[in-house]
């Protein structure tokens, strides 16, 4: 039977999500193998093959190559290379007088009272950032012509340094590309073998730092990503895979390896970008909600993202290492809170959790791998929420004694409270930290989460989801069975996506139709080329068009979907400009609660070319077994003593195995549901329902009592 696969290479685990044509979907985990990522990928696939009783060759041979087929991504690879400064060696030619754009950036974020830190070095060393006399002004006029002698001298120097690629970064190349284009010509004449990357091509946005650093990152990743993709493809082919790999991109889509190798910048951070794709599918499928807050809590980090009216929210503010390339990326807010986060008591006697994590090595105290500090996982174990004998599908045993010892020594004794009280305080503290993180992302996007569905993913989320939903006053909580591998699952459902953009300044008051329509036409052409290159069938093609702009004197741009306002030739006429303006006012009001009676400066135009993926439709609804409150002990796998604040003591609580539960089953809390890659704590006074797509739903949550 043919299968769909997606592999997500995370910091700790490599997850393989496998969907069979029957609609059965499962997640398999293997440790990530830094250095040779392919190893971990293959190991996760081996585990999967074992589950289906196939050899690896048979299993790989079954993986469908249609609709994206085998998807993987290079996120960890690209991001790690940047963070560890192991990218390719490049040189830059830039406008004279502006060599320090890479140093100043936009003023890196800093806590004003924290002086105990180093200022980040520029992405490209200054000695390989060479000045060229030239200057274009904001309207695209030439203030100073290109000094070709400077260009030639620069090439000569960079050739001595044997750089892999030359990146050309001039001011206002978005308004007039002539100088960058001419420079590229000269480079090709003088040194045909070197790579050339122009800032007006990679991310043509009119903020010089973001545009320049985008180009520099892209140039420095090309060789790395192409080598990685080629190797992976070859290794998998040797093992029996018949297709070609796809790679996930930061905007939440998949691209062919060839596409992404030509713009590797977009592989950055593509892993977390997939969680909301899965979240959106679950929220729409199971509760018919287009609005969702998607959580992913793993061993070290807690990621939050949002789906608004069926659209995954994107942002340009993502920080990669020390840089903000300003590419549109799925907006994911991340804090250091996970099972491995370490709890401690500060000098004022307050319990704190994180940001330090015990990671997987040495890991929480209960792992028995040498970790002696108490973590969130230890608190969950002491409270009885985790089963010491059934962790990661029973592959690992946990030691409650070690957890108790760690919490006693480092928390309880210092505060003169009981171990259970201390464990509860750790649990409650990490919960409020996560609530604050969710508020952070929702408040800043102008979202009121109360009317949203919470989709809780990640191995550790089921232990905390109910108090999170309560603290945010969200009344509907969905926990997928595959919560443990949300990103990998998202990769299966994702569409084939590529984005193209262009800067072109136009004011809605005296709109330059000719200029803008020319830009829109060129973007549309790029989208069509993309569809052709990737053999995407006519009915599956969809194009979305966005305008980014601001009110006069505003500095930050807001993105508006203007797809409905262009005609079939991608043109904006007099009336449609009014509609664009109205849509901007509306979006401004939604995001910022106010709108102004002003014209709009349109700055940036972006097209998203989407090849639809029909995989989600393959998952059938489950057979309905009528609403069925489980009272008989038949479906229980056991019981254990578990602490709940409501009773202020540990009480005997039933435990259920997810395998026994079917659509329509309802379990009354307090209870525990154990799935291979996640555990759900159902607090007293709540009940959990199995949904038509075989996930877990909790409704009618109480509001505003986060200390449950």
């Amino acid at each position: 039977m043919s299968k769909y696969a997606c592999v997500d290479v995370g910091g700790t685990f490599t997850d393989a999500a496998i969907l069979e044509t029957s609609g059965d979907i499962r997640v398999f985990k293997a440790p990530t193998t830094p250095g040779d990522w392919t190893e971990g990928i293959i190991n996760s696939l081996k585990i999967a093959a074992g589950h289906y009783n196939q050899t690896l060759a048979e299993f790989l041979g079954d993986i469908s190559v249609s609709g994206g087929g085998f998807a993987t991504h290079g996120s960890t690879i690209a991001t790690n290379a940047i963070v560890e400064k192991k990218v390719g060696k490049i040189g830059v030619l830039c406008t004279k007088g502006f060599r320090d754009v890479f140093l100043f950036r936009e003023g890196p974020n800093k806590n004003p009272f924290d002086m105990d830190l180093d200022y980040p070095e520029p992405f490209v060393p200054r000695y390989r950032t060479l000045p060229v006399e030239e200057r274009i002004n904001s309207e695209g006029g030439i203030e100073t012509p290109l000094n070709e002698d400077d260009v030639r001298a620069g090439i000569k120097t960079l050739r001595e340094y044997q750089v892999e690629a030359i990146c050309v970064c001039y001011l206002w190349s978005t308004a007039n590309e002539a100088h960058e284009r001419r420079t590229a010509e000269i480079i090709r004449q003088e040194w045909p073998d070197v790579g050339v990357v122009l800032s007006c091509e990679v991310n043509p946005s009119s903020r010089e730092y973001r545009r320049w650093v985008s180009a520099a990152i892209d140039a420095s990743l090309r060789r790395l990503i192409s080598t990685y993709a080629t190797n992976l493809n070859e290794r998998l082919a040797e093992l029996g895979f018949k297709g070609k790999i796809g790679m996930l991109n930061a905007s939440g889509g998949v691209m062919s390896a060839e596409e992404i190798v030509s713009k590797p910048l977009y592989t950055i951070d593509s892993g977390p970008a997939m969680a909301p794709v899965a979240g959106r599918n679950y929220a729409i499928g199971d509760v018919n909600d287009q609005n969702a807050v998607v959580l992913d809590m793993g061993g070290t980090t807690f990621d939050v993202s949002c789906v608004i009216k069926g659209h995954i929210s994107v942002s340009r503010e993502a920080v990669i290492g020390d840089e903000i390339p300003g590419i549109s990326r799925v907006s994911v807010h991340s804090i250091g809170a996970g099972g491995g986060s370490i709890a401690w008591v500060d000098s004022g006697g307050m319990i704190r959790v994180g940001p330090t994590s015990a990671g997987s090595v040495p890991g929480p105290a209960c792992y028995g791998r040498g970790g002696e500090l108490p973590t969130v996982t230890d608190a969950n174990l002491v409270l009885g929420y985790l089963n010491p004998d059934f962790f990661n599908d029973g592959m690992m045993k946990l030691s409650p004694e070690r957890s108790t010892k760690a919490i006693r020594e480092h928390i309880a004794d210092k505060l003169n409270i009981s171990v259970v009280e201390a464990a509860f305080a750790i649990w409650a503290t990490v919960n409020v930290n996560m609530i604050a993180a969710i508020k952070d992302i929702t408040i800043w996007q102008g979202i009121d989460p109360r009317s949203y569905t919470m989709v809780a993913g990640g191995g550790a989320c089921g232990l905390h989801a109910i108090p999170l939903a309560e603290g945010l006053e969200m009344s509907r909580l969905l926990i997928p069975r595959t919560a443990g591998g949300l990103s990998a699952v998202g990769g299966i459902f994702t569409d084939t996506v590529s984005e193209y953009n262009s800067s072109c300044l136009a004011n809605t008051r005296d709109f330059d139709h000719e200029k803008v329509n020319k830009v829109l036409k060129s973007l549309a052409d790029k989208a069509m080329d993309f569809f052709e290159r990737n053999n995407i069938a006519e009915p599956d093609r969809r194009v979305e068009l966005y305008m980014e702009g601001h009110y006069p004197f505003q500095v930050w741009d807001l993105s508006v979907d203007i797809t409905p306002f262009v005609d079939k030739d991608f043109k904006l006429d007099q009336d449609s400009v009014k509609l664009v303006e109205a849509a901007f006012h509306e979006e401004h009001e939604r995001t910022f609660t106010i709108k102004e009676d002003a014209n709009v400066e349109c700055v940036y135009w972006r097209v998203k070319a989407i090849g639809a993926n029909h995989v989600a439709g393959m998952i059938p609804e489950q057979e309905y077994h009528s609403e069925n409150l489980i009272v008989s002990p038949a479906k229980r796998t056991g019981s254990r003593k578990i602490y709940f604040k409501k009773y202020n003591e540990a009480i005997v609580t039933p435990v259920f195995s997810g395998d026994n539960l079917v659509y329509g089953d309802v379990i009354q809390g307090p209870a525990i549901v154990e799935e291979p890659t996640t555990t759900i704590v159902v607090l007293p006074d709540y009940s959990i329902k199995v949904t038509k797509y075989n996930n877990y739903l909790i409704e009618g949550l109480k509001t505003r009592a986060s200390e449950q």
Binding site: G97, R207, I594
Partner: protein, 588 residues
């Protein structure tokens, strides 16, 4: 914290944090003033029933430790404090920072009892000054400064605007629509805080929250006492000087006395031995003296000490009424009370602490505000000669050398500590009719030390089409920031202009505190001062010196002369010449 369960401390303090965040966000996203919406020149706080700061959202240093002072005058209002009131205090004579910072204060009642205050402060776009700038360095007094002084009055009662107040403001402020928009934004922010705090009361009840407030103040108190106990006992002094304003005031020396009493968990900063107020806009006021002195200490403590009064009250700041670094008195102007002398005071206190401890050691930060952070004004011929006036934030570096780290490059002001954004050249050129000619660091301009300061920045700008006025107050030309523990002084600031066709040879120096008109064909040049270096430059890691030479921050001559490091520059990778370096360093 005897009365409050451990987990509730986390739960409620986190709720307060999120409330502060929501207040900040409401203000930032709805404010018209660029200083708030872009540059984050705003702060929010939650005060307890006594008007003492309980929780402070991440805010800029000069707004820390003084929000309580701004709130306290509410208790003296002749009508008393009533539910639905909204106080406005912008008076540096009544506990606020300076006239440009409007502080909106919403009292929070629950069951008829006053439990909290929700407080929002933000830098306005215009405040009715006599010149189109919210800073007026050359104003002889309040009347010449021209701002409206709101001495903690009620701008709303029963949740409605007091129309007379609104009418007065609209009549006096240059951009009434922008002002009213910012008024709504500030009211929205403070009322959001009020609403959320009432919800908190509904969840936990008044009694528990009163206990929590007390316990949380006590928590802050314990945290800071733990830190103060690590210092030795003793008395220390330090002096720091700011430049003269030609023809108005001489150099101003700030004398700082400091007593640390570890056994009592107390630090006392004494600023009483300083000159009287001066007839210009530089006078500090009670709030900024307290905020700046405490910031100087906080810069030397772990950055997660809570910003509440329970902690801050352990740093006592002694000051005198009618003193240039004290409580300001009518009619002296405090137009620049949050910058300039405030920045010097922060630098002075943090540098004084070098005599106490080398932990988090710091030299003096850069002096401010060179022309790269001017308020620029003029007309934009590209937009139908529309007038513009706004402050820009580029080309000012300033991070001092720190024990263990070189200076933070985009530090900008000691009073903002690197929290402000740095403008994009292209965004600036699109919004204003200017062309930036250059924005690069100046070679050999670091305050050298074992740990260097950030280098100075040279910033050159020319108007396009029409002349432009640049208002700035450039300290640090005569008195460059001092190094610490053997580190050298920083680079001097400069302000000059030249004719573009004639080149930099036509240099003409500009006055340090001024608002010159720059004509088409002229360029204004700003050289920011750099902070002081920390530690002996001869002890700087030679590899780091080598890297800075390779990167062009310093010349090989500077490396030899100042650090005693000789560099081999023959290959792509520069190398330290070990034996020559040893020789240079031994023969000092």
């Amino acid at each position: 914290m005897a009365k409050i369960e451990s987990y509730l401390m986390s739960v409620i303090s986190s709720r307060l944090y999120s409330i502060g965040l929501e207040m900040t966000n409401t203000l930032m996203r709805t404010a018209r003033s660029q200083l708030m919406s872009v540059c984050h020149d705003l702060s929010t706080a939650i005060c307890d029933r006594n008007g003492e700061v309980l929780s402070l959202a991440e805010s800029i240093p000069v707004h820390c430790a003084n929000m309580g002072l701004t709130v306290k005058p509410c208790f003296e209002h002749p009508e008393g404090i009533k539910e639905g009131d909204m106080f406005l205090n912008n008076s540096p004579y009544r506990g606020n920072t300076h006239h440009a910072d409007y502080t909106y204060i919403a009292p929070v009642f629950f069951g008829g009892e006053l439990l909290f205050f929700a407080v929002t402060k933000g830098h306005q776009a215009d405040i009715g000054n006599s010149i189109p700038s919210t800073y007026h360095s050359n104003a002889h007094d309040l009347y010449e400064e021209g701002a409206i002084d709101w001495p903690c009055i009620k701008i709303q009662k029963e949740y409605k605007d007091v129309p007379d107040i609104i009418a007065i403001a609209k009549a006096r402020i240059r951009v009434p629509e922008v002002w009213y928009g910012d008024h709504l934004a500030c009211v929205g922010s403070a009322r959001t805080g009020e609403r959320r705090l009432i919800e908190l009361c509904e969840d936990y009840g008044a009694e528990l929250l009163k206990d929590f407030s007390d316990a949380y103040q006590e928590y802050g108190s314990k945290r800071i006492q733990e830190e103060i106990r690590k210092f030795p006992e003793g008395h220390w002094e330090y002096d720091i000087k700011s430049d003269a304003i030609e023809g108005m005031v001489d150099e101003i020396n700030i004398h700082i006395g400091c007593d640390i009493k570890p056994s009592e968990g107390k630090i006392i900063i004494d600023l009483r031995d300083n000159r009287d107020s001066v007839p210009c806009g530089l006078n500090m006021c009670e709030a900024t003296v307290r905020g700046s002195a405490i910031t100087g200490i906080l810069n030397r403590l772990p950055s997660d000490v809570p910003g509440n009064e329970g902690a801050m009250n352990h740093i006592e700041v002694l000051m005198r009424e009618g003193c240039v670094v004290g409580k300001s008195k009518m009619p002296y102007s405090s137009s620049l009370a949050t910058t300039n002398l405030a920045d010097r005071l922060i630098s002075g206190v943090q540098a004084l602490m070098n005599q106490v401890t080398s932990e988090r050691g710091m030299a003096e930060g850069g002096a401010v505000q060179c022309p790269a952070v001017s308020v620029i004004s003029g007309k934009d011929w590209r937009k139908g000669y529309q007038p513009y006036v706004n402050q820009i934030f580029l080309g000012m570096t300033g991070g001092p050398g720190v024990n263990g780290h070189d200076g933070w490059i985009t530090y900008q002001y000691p009073c903002t500590g690197g929290a402000l954004n740095w403008n994009s050249v292209e965004v600036l050129e699109q919004q204003y009719p200017v062309l930036i000619v250059e924005e690069e660091m100046l070679p050999d301009s670091v305050g050298a030390g074992a740990f260097d300061s950030a280098p100075s920045c040279k910033f050159v700008m020319t108007p396009r089409g029409e002349a432009m006025t640049c208002a700035y107050s450039c300290d640090g030309i005569d008195n460059p920031p001092k190094g610490a523990v053997g580190g050298l002084d920083g680079h001097r600031a400069a302000a000059w202009k030249y004719s573009l066709p004639e080149g930099e040879g036509s240099r003409a120096d500009l006055p340090p505190f001024a608002q010159p008109e720059i004509k088409v064909g002229e360029a204004i040049v700003s050289e920011s001062s750099s902070g002081g270096g920390y530690g002996d430059p001869k002890k700087r890691d030679p590899q780091l010196v080598c890297r800075r030479v390779r990167e062009g921050w310093i010349t090989p001559e500077f490396a030899e002369r100042v650090y005693g490091v000789a560099i081999d520059m023959s290959g792509e990778e520069y190398k330290v010449i070990e034996d020559k370096t040893a020789e240079l360093r031994s023969g000092r």
